[in-house]
C-alpha cells in the first residue's frame, strides 16, 4: 500500500488533480481511497456527481466511529472520505483533522486492502493538525501541486519548510499550469533547487472545468480524452517513485532570482 499526501497553495487545483488521479489509478485496477481533509469537504465531490458525502467529523459528532460508515464508493469504484470540520470562522479545523485521522484508524486501510491512499490536504501546513497526514504512519511521502507563479511557488516553498521541520519526504512536484511564460521550466528548476523533482505537468485545459461543473472527473465526462493518459502517467510515476527525500527549502530571494531569471 502506498499513502501519499497532496499539499499546495489554496485554489491551485489539489482536489482536481487528486480526484482525477484517483479515478485513473482505479481504472488501472487499483483499489484507491481518497481522503479529503478540507473542512469545506469538497475534495471528493467530483467522485459523487457533485453531491457531498457525510463527513467523518459530522458522523463522529453523532457518535458514529465505525470507519465502514465513513467511506463511500464513488465513480469507477474509488472510495471517498471527507474529514469535514467546523464552519468557517469557528472551532479548530486542524484538531478536526487529527481526530478524524485517528477515528478512521490507519490499520483500517490495510485491513481493507487499499493499494493507494491519497490525502488531499487544504492549503499550507498552517498548524500541527494540517501536518497530521504527513506524519509517521500516514502518508509515505508528500506531493506538492504548484503553478509557475510566484505566490504558488512561495507557498510550495513554505510547505517544503514544514516538511523539512517535520523530517517528511517529498516525492516531487506536480505542475498545474496557468499558461505563464516558461512555466514548466520554472517549476522544474525550483523543484531541483529544493533537491526534489518535477513529476509531470497538467496543462491548462477547459475540459477539467467543464467536468467539474457537472461534478465529474475528466475520465467520467471525457473518457477518451488524452488528459486521462496524463493522469495515468502521473499515477504510475508516483507509484514507482524511488527518489523521495526530505526537501531543502530555499530563501524568498532565491525564489525571486530563479523566477526572475526566466524573464
Amino acid at each position: 500500500m502506498k499513502q501519499i499526501a497532496i499539499y499546495g497553495k489554496g485554489g491551485i487545483g489539489k482536489s482536481s488533480i487528486s480526484s482525477n488521479l484517483s479515478v485513473n489509478l482505479a481504472s488501472e485496477g487499483l483499489e484507491v481511497l481518497l481522503i479529503g481533509c478540507d473542512p469545506k469537504s469538497d475534495s471528493t465531490i467530483n467522485l459523487f456527481g457533485g453531491k457531498r458525502i457525510n463527513t467523518v467529523l459530522d458522523l463522529y459528532k453523532k457518535g458514529v466511529t465505525d470507519p465502514d460508515l465513513m467511506v463511500f464508493e464513488g465513480y469507477n469504484g474509488v472510495k471517498g472520505v471527507e474529514v469535514g470540520g467546523p464552519a468557517a470562522g469557528v472551532g479548530c479545523a486542524g484538531r478536526g483533522i487529527l481526530v478524524a485521522l485517528k477515528t478512521l484508524n490507519k490499520d483500517y486501510y490495510i485491513d481493507r486492502g487499499f493499494d493507494v491512499v491519497i490525502y488531499d490536504v487544504p492549503g499550507d501546513v498552517v498548524c500541527g493538525g494540517f501536518a497530521g497526514p504527513a506524519r509517521d504512519g500516514y502518508a509515505d511521502e508528500v506531493y506538492i501541486i504548484t503553478s509557475g507563479e510566484y505566490f504558488s511557488i512561495y507557498a510550495a516553498n513554505n510547505i517544503a519548510k514544514g516538511l523539512f521541520n517535520l523530517n517528511v519526504k517529498l516525492g516531487g512536484i506536480v505542475g498545474n499550469m496557468r499558461d505563464i511564460t516558461k512555466e514548466e521550466r520554472k517549476i522544474k528548476v525550483y523543484a531541483e533547487e529544493i533537491k526534489s523533482q518535477l513529476i509531470n505537468v497538467v496543462e491548462r485545459n477547459p475540459k477539467i472545468y467543464e467536468s467539474e461543473i457537472e461534478g465529474k472527473t475528466v475520465l467520467e465526462k471525457y473518457p477518451n480524452d488524452l488528459l486521462n493518459i496524463k493522469f495515468k502517467e502521473i499515477g504510475k510515476k508516483i507509484l514507482s517513485n524511488k527518489k523521495s527525500k526530505v526537501p531543502t527549502p530555499i530563501t524568498d530571494e532565491r525564489i525571486r532570482s530563479i523566477l526572475g531569471g526566466f524573464h
Binding site: 486542524g94 484538531r95 487529527l98 498548524c127 500541527g128 493538525g129 501536518a131 517535520l166 523530517n167
Partner: protein, 358 residues
C-alpha cells in the same frame, strides 16, 4: 445527559497512573498551572512532576523545542529510569508532534507519550490511555492492560449509575456529623452487637480508610461486640506499587492484632470487590455494615448500613440509596501521599474518642 458537576479529569488520571506504574518523572506538556494540585501531591509520593510551561507564544509557534529542552533537563537533573510525557488540552489541540520530539531528544528509549487531554471524557480514559501507552512501551503486558481497562470501564459505570455522574448537578455535602456516626457505632458495640466493616478502597486512599476499620476493631476490643472485616487487600493483583499498598495495610493491621476475614479483591478492583464482599456477607449474621472507600460500588443490602466516602458529591446519591448515615473523609489524597503506614482518619479519631481510646 450534559453533567454540570465538575469531575476529575483525564490528564490528572494519567499522572496518577504514571505514579502507579512507578515512572520516575512525568512531564506535563502544557501550561504551568495545568494539574498543579495533583502534581504537588504526586511529588510527595515520589514521582517528579515537571511542566513545559507553555505560553501564549508556544500556542502560536508550537513548543516541541521546549519539550525537548525539558526532557533533556529532566534527564540530567533526576537521572530517571522512565519518563512519561502527558499531553494537555493546549498541546494536543495545536497538534504537537510529541513522538517526534521524543525521538529528537534521543530519550525515546526511556520516555513514552500519553496522548491525552482534558476534553476526552471520563477521567478513567486518562488512566486507560496511560496503561495502553505503557503496554506499547513494554512496561506491562497485554493481559494486565486488558484487566485494568475492564476495571476502569466498570468504575466509570459505577460513577454513572450510582456516583457523582449520576445526575446533572450534585451539590457537595459533608453528610452526617462524624461524632454522631462514631457514637452510633460505639453504642452498638457497647450493646454487644456485630458490625461488618467493608473496606472497598481505591489504591492509596486505603492508608486512610483502613484507619476506620482499625478504629472499629480497637473500639470493639475495648467496648465489646464483634467485627467481621472484609477488604480489597489482595497482594496478588495489580501493579507492584498497588500490591505493596495491600501488603502495608495487612502488616499494619497484623501489628494491631486485627485480621481480615475475607479478601474481596485487589486494590484496583474496587468496582467488583464490593459485590464480592456482599456475596461473602450475605449468609453472615451482623447488625450493621460500615462501607468505607467506594461504597457506591457495593450492591444494596437489606441491613442497616453506614457509608464513608471521600467525595462530598457522592453523599447525596448514597443517601438516596438508603444508607442510614453517609459521612465524608475530606482530606483523603492529601494525607496519604508518601506514607507506608495507616494514617489517622477523622472518623477513626471520632470513634476512638467516643470509645475512650487514647
Amino acid at each position: 445527559m450534559n453533567i454540570l458537576t465538575p469531575r476529575p479529569n483525564p490528564i490528572v488520571a494519567a499522572l496518577y497512573t504514571l505514579r502507579d506504574l512507578d515512572v520516575d518523572v512525568a512531564i506535563l506538556h502544557g501550561p504551568s498551572g495545568c494539574g498543579f494540585r495533583a502534581a504537588r501531591l504526586l511529588e510527595e509520593d515520589g514521582m517528579v512532576v515537571v511542566t513545559t510551561s507553555m505560553t501564549e507564544e508556544d500556542l502560536i509557534f508550537g513548543a516541541s523545542d521546549k519539550l525537548i529542552e525539558v526532557l533533556t533537563e529532566a534527564n540530567a537533573l533526576f537521572s530517571p529510569k522512565t519518563i512519561g510525557v502527558v499531553g494537555s488540552c493546549v498541546s494536543m489541540i495545536i497538534g504537537e508532534n510529541v513522538k517526534k520530539a521524543l525521538i529528537d531528544s534521543g530519550l525515546n528509549n526511556k520516555a513514552f507519550f500519553v496522548e491525552i487531554h482534558g476534553c476526552m471524557g471520563a477521567n478513567t480514559r486518562g488512566a486507560i490511555e496511560t496503561l495502553k501507552a505503557a503496554m506499547d512501551f513494554g512496561l506491562i503486558g497485554e493481559k494486565e492492560f486488558k484487566r485494568q481497562e475492564n476495571m476502569l470501564l466498570l468504575a466509570t459505570e459505577v460513577e454513572s449509575n450510582k456516583g457523582m455522574a449520576k445526575s446533572k448537578y450534585i451539590k457537595p455535602s459533608r453528610g452526617t456529623d462524624l461524632k454522631i456516626v462514631a457514637d452510633y457505632i460505639t453504642n452498638l458495640l457497647k450493646e454487644n452487637k456485630k458490625i461488618a466493616v467493608v473496606l472497598n478502597a481505591k489504591k492509596e486512599t486505603v492508608y486512610l480508610f483502613a484507619d476506620i476499620l482499625l478504629a472499629i476493631n480497637l473500639a470493639s476490643k475495648k467496648l465489646g461486640g464483634s467485627v467481621i472485616n472484609v477488604g480489597n487487600l489482595s497482594t496478588e493483583v495489580g501493579l507492584l506499587r498497588i500490591k505493596r499498598y495491600a501488603e502495608d495495610i495487612i502488616n499494619n493491621l497484623n501489628s494491631n492484632n486485627v485480621a481480615i476475614n475475607f479478601i474481596s479483591g485487589g486494590m484496583d478492583e474496587y468496582p467488583i470487590a464490593g459485590k464480592n464482599a456482599i456475596d461473602y456477607l450475605k449468609d453472615k449474621d451482623f447488625d450493621l455494615m460500615v462501607a468505607v472507600g467506594i461504597p457506591q460500588a457495593l450492591p444494596l443490602i437489606d441491613k442497616e448500613s453506614i457509608a464513608v466516602t471521600n467525595g462530598p458529591r457522592e453523599v447525596p446519591p448514597l443517601e438516596e440509596a438508603g444508607y442510614k448515615y453517609v459521612t465524608v473523609e475530606i482530606a483523603s489524597h492529601s494525607t496519604v501521599m508518601g506514607t507506608r503506614e495507616i494514617v489517622f482518619s477523622e472518623l477513626g479519631e471520632a470513634i476512638r474518642n467516643s470509645a475512650g481510646i487514647q
